[in-house]
């Protein structure tokens, strides 16, 4: 076992340089082309799994693995997140102490807007995720911020996603600052980290639908569309960035800060990759 661990830690470091894919994709602000990246990502999965319709990637691993899909469909008959949507709706509609509500903070009263997040906020000069916007709304109205990973914020986010179902993701990159954030997220996605020396891409591009112990990692394409998710392992609802932290721990890396710049940029990149797919959150996952 010790040998296996050592091999994972050191030999995999040694193999990084031998990865022969790449590298016409932009890695500088001048050369990065988000649309080309998105096209390449979608093309990669379509070539690898030609039997899977692009639109089905919103279902994650269940688009690729029939037995898992069957079990998941059984779960979806009585969705475990159903009560969370109801709780989220109640929280969303509850007025703040100043008489205002979430609806006052968002376009279209916060209904049917999930597909526009994360978005580049020019006035703040940063990527704003839906959860960040929820907490910014609270603070602006004199309320305390909610915890980032689960509970009320996940429920509100779930309700907002639910009202956006079937809306098409349309994340915009309006200027060079936004493009820089996208590039930073792209780099994070492909950068190996942790003692196991693995990147997001290792599991969710090359490793998609390849067993890691007893689990089948899902494709990154469509990953974000079904968050927040009720994960059986958690026994509750959780946000996308909760999952990011869990992934980083899984590879034995110290997780980056939830809703910090790195994770927000990562979410920006990852969501852009799923532009054109529909919102189907909240979802249920193992």
């Amino acid at each position: 076992m010790k040998i296996i661990k050592s091999l994972l830690a050191s030999a995999s470091l040694a193999l990084v340089a031998s990865i022969s894919q790449a590298a016409t994709s932009g890695n500088t602000l001048a050369t990065v082309d988000p649309e080309a990246d998105r096209s390449a990502m979608q093309s990669y999965f379509q070539k690898r799994f030609p039997q899977v319709a692009l639109s089905d990637y919103v279902n994650g691993i269940y688009a690729l693995d029939a037995p898992s899909r069957e079990q998941w469909q059984d779960i979806e008959e009585f969705p475990p997140y159903e009560f969370d949507i109801e709780a989220g709706e109640a929280l969303f509609n509850k007025t703040f102490a100043n008489g205002k509500s979430y609806a006052d903070c968002f376009a279209n009263g916060g209904i049917g807007i999930r597909q526009n997040f994360p978005r580049w906020d020019a006035s703040q000069g940063k990527v704003v995720t839906l959860e960040l916007a929820i907490n910014q709304c609270r603070k602006a109205n004199g309320e305390e911020a909610l915890g980032w990973k689960k509970g009320k914020i996940a429920q509100i986010s779930a309700y907002m996603a639910f009202t956006s179902r079937d809306n098409v993701f349309d994340v915009q990159i309006p200027n060079d600052k936004a493009k820089a954030a996208y590039l930073d997220g792209k780099q994070s996605f492909y950068a190996r980290r942790g003692q196991l020396n693995m990147s997001c891409a290792n599991c969710h591009i090359a490793g998609a639908y390849i067993k890691i112990r007893a689990d089948l990692p899902g494709p990154t394409l469509g990953h974000v569309t079904h968050f927040p998710v009720f994960r059986s392992k958690w026994g509750e609802l959780g946000t996308l960035q909760r999952r990011y932290g869990g992934c980083q721990k899984n590879v034995r890396g110290v997780p980056q800060k939830t809703q910090g710049e790195k994770f927000r940029n990562l979410e920006f990149f990852q969501t852009y990759m799923s532009n054109g797919l529909v919102v189907n959150g909240p979802g249920a996952r193992k």
Binding site: K2, I3, S6, L7, A9, S10, A11, L13, A14, L15, V16, A17, I19, S20, Q21, A22, A23, T24, S25, N27, D37, A40, M41, S43, Y44, K186, Q187, Y190, A191, R192, R193, G194, Q195, N197, S199, A201, N202, I205, A206, K249, R252, G253, V254, Q256, K262
Partner: protein
């Protein structure tokens, strides 16, 4: 008798070539197969499979040395956290090293500090490598 050359720390620390260098590949393979303290021959010379931190810890086990090693390991950990590439086990290794130092288990403390410092050094190397090579993994 062939000259035994300790693993040169500088060689391991050159960012971007940590893994790609043939010597490092040979070293990693030997280390994985045989653990520390093993001799192997590469390009006609004999090396041992010890990490620089283990070599630094192979001194008399006493309070002064254990304290110095722990301080160096903590310093390295601060550096790896600064680049956001820390590994999860390192914090507990440092904690255990500190406890061992307090209870006078100097050898144990020094070994744990060496391990923690190695983790941090590799995390920093990983950071530099990731900066340089992440683009290699992007599908065309």
């Amino acid at each position: 008798m062939k000259k035994t050359i300790s693993l040169v720390a500088a060689l391991m620390m050159v960012s971007g070539v940590v893994a790609a260098h043939p010597f490092n590949e040979a070293f990693n393979e030997q280390r994985a197969m045989y653990g520390k303290g093993h001799s192997f021959t590469w390009n006609g010379q004999t090396y041992i499979t010890d990490h620089p931190e283990e070599i630094a810890a192979a001194v008399v086990a006493n309070a002064a040395n254990a304290t110095a090693l722990l301080a160096a390991a903590k310093d390295q950990y601060t550096q790896v956290l600064a680049v956001d590439f820390g590994w999860t086990l390192t914090k507990n290794l440092l904690k255990s090293a500190g406890k061992a130092l307090e209870t006078g288990e100097f050898r144990k403390s020094m070994d744990l500090s060496a391990q923690a410092q190695y983790h941090s050094r590799m995390g920093i190397a990983q950071y530099h490598q990731s900066q340089a090579e992440w683009i290699m993994a992007v599908p065309e």
